[in-house]
């Protein structure tokens, strides 16, 4: 067991070290949601605010509304990026080194996933810090309570990335993944508009959104940020995370190839 934890620890440390040395990746992870927050949110017609929906107790500005969605977006990008690198680098490079460690593959995948989630959380907090400078903030409790939600959501999205990359072999580069995975998953969710708003424009869109696990990821982050319990969202995020991971691990078994 000690061996497992040691490996977990060095994998985590390595991710963190890489995160702090790769400034470009960090900056793009930060700029993307900030563009949404500062340019799109203020320019859009939702400037008149969003009506009360749980967990909010009063009307909120659109910036406030999309904050949790943007946090989840960071985790989505981060999860896809690191999961795909896990796949593409399998044959070469550091990933090969990792996979030849004398530990069960699921533990190695899990450790790597968790490590990248921690990095994702750091990105989220950096984003939240910048958002404060522009007047979009949470309560102190919100910043603390959001962490477990971020970790859960990050793991779920990382596992989703693993699964997708092992199912769809055509996902050859990140641009394809952006177009066919990240954008649909992000836009067809409650990240940018509440579900009732989706329903107003199209019933079909509404149903697609309500079947998108990312919607529940966003809502879990949202509820946690406002210190409100969200058992349904939590169950869906945890459930789909476990299912994604088990399926991915199964598909990753070298005996299958």
């Amino acid at each position: 067991m000690n061996h497992y934890l040691t490996a977990f620890q060095v994998i985590g440390m390595r991710e963190l070290r890489r995160f702090f040395t790769q400034r470009g990746r960090f900056l793009s992870a930060l700029v993307r949601p900030l563009v949404w927050l500062l340019i799109f949110a203020t320019g859009f017609r939702a400037a008149l605010g969003v009506s009360i929906i749980a967990p909010y107790q009063t009307y909120i500005t659109y910036e406030t509304y999309i904050l949790p969605g943007l946090c989840a977006m960071i985790l989505l990008f981060n999860g896809m990026q690191s999961s795909l690198s896990l796949v593409y680098d399998r044959e070469v490079g550091p990933m090969r080194l990792l996979l030849t460690a004398p530990l069960p593959r699921w533990w190695l995948l899990f450790s790597k996933l968790t490590a990248s989630v921690l990095v994702g959380c750091l990105q989220v907090y950096a984003f939240l810090a910048v958002a404060v400078l522009f007047g979009v903030k949470l309560s102190l409790a919100g910043y603390v309570l959001i962490l477990p939600a971020l970790i859960g959501v990050g793991l779920m999205l990382g596992a989703l990335g693993l699964l997708l990359s092992s199912v769809i072999r055509q996902l050859e580069n990140f641009a394809t993944v952006m177009n066919f995975v990240i954008f649909p998953v992000f836009f067809l969710s409650s990240a940018l508009y509440p579900l009732w708003r989706m329903r107003e424009s199209s019933e079909l869109l509404f149903y697609v959104c309500s079947w998108n696990p990312f919607t529940y990821a966003v809502e879990l982050v949202r509820f946690s940020a406002y210190a409100t319990s969200a058992p349904v969202q939590m169950a869906i995020v945890a459930g789909s995370g476990v299912v994604f991971f088990l399926l991915a691990n199964h598909l990753y078994d070298p005996a299958r190839r």
Partner: protein
């Protein structure tokens, strides 16, 4: 001498295309075994199977007498692997790279520190321990990777064309170092297509188009010819034969 590595009727294919056909050979402790073959012969596929990135379609692989398929953890723990492509984190120091690897093998703290120091000493890299990898030249980077593969004190060292892209002096240094390791009792499987890296007393396994076409001490195999002539003749002859 004990058998460190044994392949028994191993076959592998990528879909329709057969990569390895009924491959059998073994390497004993304290032996330098050169896996010789032209590009595309199946050397890299064989390394994938040995490092358990892939699973053979047929056949058995034993590491120190235990099946790699049934007990992969034991097998991987007993192997040190140097991959063809560099697998280094360039922006960290040599020691940090090795600490990461030691961790993957369950070594931490003082144990890890001792193992790393010993491995670096074995490859005469101690004085470079705290340099950033990016600043090392190609030869030193390779030596460092070999040192890393020794951190957990394996019985077998697998090297996949480790001298690719190095200058003549570095190649010679590394080849000599690894031969020294063999003298210490380590079993080495060295994939290459360059015959000048092979000594007369080394074991040669000649792999061609996924088959083993020769296996034995270099001196015995070449007879009166130069090893290079023998190698070219055999791989060329096989090409024209039905």
């Amino acid at each position: 001498m004990k058998t460190a590595l044994k392949l028994d009727h191993v076959s592998f294919d990528y879909g329709q295309k057969a990569a390895l056909k009924d491959v059998s050979f073994s390497v004993a402790d304290g032996t330098f075994c050169a896996l010789l073959g032209p590009n595309g012969a199946g050397k890299s596929t064989l390394f994938s199977l040995l490092s358990r990135l892939r699973i053979p379609a047929k056949g058995q692989i034993d590491i120190s007498g235990r099946s790699l398929l049934q007990d992969p953890m034991h097998g991987l723990a007993g192997m040190g692997i140097v991959f063809q492509q560099p697998t280094l984190d360039l922006d960290t120091t040599v020691r940090q790279n090795l600490i990461y690897f030691a961790g993957l093998h369950g070594l931490r703290g003082v144990d890890a520190h001792h193992s790393i120091t010993r491995a670096l000493t074995r490859m005469r890299m101690s004085e470079r321990a705290d340099e950033k990898v990016r600043l090392l030249n190609g030869g030193h980077r390779r030596r460092m990777e070999i040192a890393r593969a020794l951190v957990h004190n394996p019985r077998i060292l697998l090297l996949d064309e480790p001298t690719v892209g190095l200058d003549a002096q570095s190649r010679k240094d590394i080849t000599d170092h690894v031969h020294d390791l063999v003298a210490e009792g380590l079993a080495v499987l060295w994939a290459t297509h360059l015959v000048d890296e092979i000594g007369d007393h080394d074991q040669v396994v000649l792999l061609h188009e996924g088959r083993i076409i020769a296996d034995g001490p270099a001196q015995t195999l070449r007879g009166e010819d130069r090893l290079l002539d023998w190698y070219l003749h055999r791989t060329h002859a096989e090409n024209v034969m039905p």
